[in-house]
């Protein structure tokens, strides 16, 4: 097998270069900008698909650049990377379409799309990082790229949310930096190895436990593990496409992806188990799952409810990582994709409601299913998926998590899943109920889009329909060979290879 160098770089550049070009494109050059961004997204997706095919046939993609003493910048495409990078690339395309329509007529669009693309580039970098340092670098770059998106509206509230976001994420980043530097000083280069790079080294267990804790805290900030989640609900002031991206693809996923990397490719399952760090991580994740759900239940603002839901749902991935055994791991990994599809659908739909009818609160959603049936169908599918109702994607995740936990004797995890399912239902079903089963009372808060043919602009409508259908398909066709589940099984087969 040959080592291909250009492709990982090309995947990152496919969004980085157009991103930078955006900034210097005049604000009024709308058509050019749309064409540029969509073309870039399509190109990136194509490249990723090429890489996907290559990786599944055993091709090796790696670039290595010297950056620091005994620490290289390594981009390496393995199965796990591809899981994440494919998700981000495909959702980027849809989100770009969505954002074009969503931000139609607003100011600072060049800036928005510029940072949007940078954000995706950083995400691709995180996905393709071949060692812990590279992961850290792109992780921090992601913080920088998302900050302008969070404060995009420029209001006092947005700026305050941005401050909070930075306070959390930069602190987390510093914790991570210290942990990485410490680990590097103990074992040298930190290139990811399936089964754990620490397998080859003998290091004091106490130190490893402390470093593990630091790493989890560092990544846990972005993954919004309770109590490190404070920034996430506040970051909801950002425009809907940003929330969609933040929650489904970029930021929270980056955090949890880091945890997955740490557990599997840095520590390795055996070492992590013998250190006894996975149990606390599982508890950490479980607390997050329950707490996030309870808080979601208390929100009337739709986007906040979704935000707390993210807090809860993303912790499934961490939970799947922390529970031993291949089955739960499959559940966690596949949820990376499944949660992405479902959550992005929910945010698209929430954005549609806000943009089309001015609806921001659950209490304003009465009868909206009749006004926007397609949007609400997508919303319902995604919400049901979040609850874990078969055959939608979320069910597959939960099934594997539960099965995996039970098969290693961690029955309590099943309890967590049950509580969480009930709570999920408790905060999602009322929205669905209000939309479909209640009569609309007053005129909508602010009806701004009125089209005869369809309920809203097609570019706002198409993305949620596609992602909603994808969420359904990912579950319904999970047994197929092209499903995220099949890919997650492929990854796990490598991680658990003796």
């Amino acid at each position: 097998m040959t080592t291909v160098q250009w492709l990982p770089l090309a995947v990152i550049s496919a969004s980085l270069v157009p991103g930078l070009m955006n900034f210097f494109l005049g604000e009024e050059r709308h058509g050019t900008r749309v064409a540029l961004n969509i073309a870039a997204a399509v190109l990136k997706l194509t490249l990723v698909v090429v890489m996907l095919a290559g990786v599944s046939s055993g091709e090796i993609y790696e670039v290595r650049v010297r950056l620091l003493p005994t620490a290289d910048l390594v981009l390496h495409a393995d199965a796990l990377s591809l899981l994440f990078v494919t998700l981000s690339a495909s959702l980027w395309l849809l989100t770009t379409l969505y954002a074009v329509a969503y931000l139609d007529g607003s100011s600072h669009r060049s800036r928005f799309f510029g940072f949007f693309s940078l954000c995706v580039s950083a995400t691709a970098g995180i996905a393709l990082a071949g060692n812990l340092l590279t992961l850290l670098l792109f992780y921090e770059a992601l913080t920088l790229a998302t900050y302008p998106l969070v404060v995009h509206r420029g209001t006092q509230e947005a700026l305050a949310a941005g401050r909070l976001y930075l306070a959390y994420t930069l602190s987390g980043g510093m914790v991570l930096l210290i942990a990485v530097a410490w680990l590097r000083s103990l074992v040298g280069p930190l290139d990811f190895v399936p089964g754990g790079l620490l397998r080859e080294h003998y290091v004091d267990a106490t130190k490893l436990v402390v470093i593990f804790a630091l790493l989890v805290i560092g990544f846990g900030v972005k993954a919004a593990l309770v109590p490190l989640h404070g920034w996430l609900p506040r970051a909801m002031v950002a425009p809907a496409p940003v929330s969609a991206l933040l929650h489904a693809v970029a930021v929270v996923k980056a955090g949890v992806f880091g945890i997955v990397r740490v557990v599997y490719d840095v520590y390795g399952i055996d070492l992590a188990q013998s250190l006894g760090v996975l149990g606390p991580l599982a508890v950490f994740a479980s607390v997050t799952i329950v707490w996030g759900s309870v808080r979601a239940l208390q929100q009337d603002e739709l986007k906040k409810r979704l935000a707390f839901s993210t807090v809860s749902q993303v912790a499934y991935i961490a939970l799947g990582t922390a529970v031993l055994g291949p089955i739960a791991t499959i559940g966690g990994l596949v949820h990376l994709v499944h949660q992405g599809l479902m959550k992005i659908t929910l945010f698209f739909c929430a954005g549609n409601l806000a943009e089309t009818l001015g609806i921001h609160h659950v209490s304003e959603m009465r009868g909206v299913g009749r006004r926007m049936p397609l949007t609400m169908t997508a919303f319902t599918v995604a919400a049901f998926g979040m609850i874990g109702i078969p055959p939608i994607a979320g069910f597959i995740s939960k099934w594997y998590l539960g099965l995996g936990a039970v098969s290693v004797g961690a029955h309590w995890v099943l309890g967590v899943l049950m509580i969480s399912t009930v709570l999920n239902a408790a905060y999602f079903l009322p929205t669905v109920y209000a939309a479909w089963f209640q009569e609309p009372e007053d005129p909508w808060p602010r009806e701004s889009v009125s089209t005869r043919t369809i309920e809203t602009r097609w570019m706002l409508l198409l993305p949620p329909l596609v992602t909603g259908a994808a969420a359904l398909a990912a579950g319904l066709l999970a047994g197929g060979s092209l499903s995220p589940l099949a890919w997650a099984q492929f990854i796990v087969a490598q991680e658990y290879r003796p």
């Binding site: 003493p69 850290l136 670098l137 995009h152 930075l166 210290i178």
Partner: protein, 490 residues
């Protein structure tokens, strides 16, 4: 006699001096003289850098007299780094100044070019000197040129600040000289390399070394002796602020590095190095806090210099450990350069902001910052380097220091870097947030557009600061500790 590469050393000192004199003599040709002289000096620096890269440290005896009596110039890795930094910032600030002084109809102060060139002379001479007394003279030249620039064309506050700057600077120089004099009393030599080895062995050394360190600390504005810096840097003209913050304070630090490199650090003992580190830590924390609460943009940036200078004093505790010496060393030098570039960029960008709005009160700048993305990027990117986020020169420096702290087991400095970075992020993003804030007043006061010649230099420096993050492999051999020891630690 054909010119060798070593002949470039005197040129690096003499060329700007000649240009300075020419600029005084021909005030109307100030710019042309400045630019031509600057470019020629830069060319000499390039030659020196090339020579150093190819053949290692370069030495040149002025007038043919060898070291003890004559004046000897020497360019090792550290000197080359310093020369290059000076040349980069000088030239960029010079280009910036072309439009800064005149674009709203004002006139360029007649003394700008002469003083800037004089400053360049002093800095280059400082970088190339190895003699404790010559260093004093160059330090004074740098000080005086700096004070002159600071007062240039400025009104009230700038003059007041310049006067205080002068007094503090002189006090510092004389303290340093007192220390040197005491050492001379004891050891009868002025060679830094020799003195540093024996400094703390003699009785006089117990007073002399503290005098030298205190003098340099005062010049480098180490907390709590930073009182002169914020006003001086914040009230000067923007290109001057850039020079002062990026280069002039570094001159004192450069001397610290020289003394340390020559062996002074090893003689100080574990407690004193920690004490100096503690002062540095206090500077990082206090400077950052002040940058965070400052009401004006340039003042905030100036306090950031106080904070960043504090990091550099971590050299003492971190490099005192032999295993981490080279890492810490490389980290400090990296930070010096990264901070120089980033800070200059930030001051230049602040100057554009201030020019466009007529003031730089942070509370009133929301949403009114320049429309052009160039200055915004300059502010953002230099901020990234100041915080030490990837990918930037600041990150590399911080990473190296962090590694040194961890490997040598000095966890308290890890904590400091942690806190310092977050505080830096706090004050940088306080400024960056303004770029995204909505204008509070409904009437959008259309800011004047800054000329490209003011925006591009800032962006260029900021890009350089960020690009430095990728340059470590290329610079590694230059930064390596043994090489640095080169000539001076005979």
């Amino acid at each position: 006699m054909p010119l060798g590469i070593d002949d470039a050393l005197p040129f690096a000192v003499v060329l700007p001096a000649v240009a300075a004199v020419a600029a005084v003599v021909m005030p109307h040709w100030g710019r042309a003289v400045g630019l031509v002289g600057g470019l020629m000096t830069a060319a000499a620096v390039v030659v020196i850098a090339f020579g150093n890269r190819v053949g290692g440290p370069i030495r040149y005896a002025l007038g043919g007299w060898p070291a003890p009596l004559g004046i000897e110039l020497a360019a090792d890795g550290l000197a080359v780094v310093m020369l290059a930094l000076v040349a980069t910032v000088m030239l960029t600030a010079g280009v910036y100044a072309l439009r800064y002084f005149d674009h709203d109809g004002g006139a360029e102060p007649a003394l700008f070019w002469p003083l800037a060139l004089l400053l360049w002379t002093g800095l280059n001479a400082l970088a190339l000197s190895a003699d404790a007394f010559n260093v004093y003279v160059t330090l004074e030249v740098v000080s005086l040129a700096g004070v002159g620039l600071c007062a240039l064309g400025g009104r009230g506050e700038a003059i007041v600040a310049a006067l205080r700057y002068l007094l503090a600077g002189m006090l510092a120089s004389l303290l340093y000289l007192l220390g040197v004099a005491l050492l001379y009393v004891e050891h009868g030599t002025l060679d830094i390399a020799t003195l540093a080895q024996v400094a703390v062995t003699g009785a006089a050394g117990f007073v002399a070394v503290p005098c030298i360190l205190a003098g340099l600390a005062l010049k480098a504005a180490l907390f709590p002796l930073h009182f002169w810096l914020p006003a001086a840097h914040a009230n000067a003209n923007a290109p001057v602020s850039a020079l002062l913050s990026a280069l002039v304070v570094k001159a004192a630090l450069y001397l610290v590095l020289r003394w340390w490199l020559a062996g002074l650090g090893m003689g100080l003992g574990p407690i004193l190095v920690q004490l100096l580190g503690a002062l540095g830590a206090a500077a990082v924390l206090w400077g950052s806090v002040q940058a965070l609460v400052a009401a004006r943009l340039k003042l905030s940036v100036a306090y950031s210099t106080v904070a960043q200078m504090g990091y550099l004093f971590l050299l003492f505790p971190l490099a005192a450990n032999p295993t981490t010496a080279s890492t810490a060393w490389a980290g400090i030098v990296y930070l010096v350069v990264a901070h120089g570039l980033a800070k200059a960029a930030l001051f230049l960008a602040s100057g554009s902001v201030l020019r466009a709005h007529g003031h730089d009160r942070l509370g009133e700048l929301a949403g009114l910052l320049p429309r052009s993305p160039i200055t915004k990027f300059a502010i953002g990117l230099s901020g990234v380097s100041l915080i030490g986020l990837p990918f930037s020169g600041g990150f590399v420096g911080k990473w190296l220091l962090l590694n040194a702290a961890i490997v040598s087991g000095q966890w308290w400095w890890v904590a400091l870097i942690f806190a310092g970075s977050l505080l830096a992020a706090a004050y940088v993003f306080r400024i960056v947030a303004l770029l995204f804030a909505q204008s509070e007043s409904p009437i959008d006061v259309a800011p004047q557009h800054s000329p490209m010649l003011m925006e591009l230099p800032a962006l260029g420096l900021a890009l350089a600061a960020v690009g430095l993050g990728f340059a470590y492999p290329a610079l590694e051999s230059t930064l390596a500790l043994p090489d640095m020891l080169g000539d001076h630690a005979r």
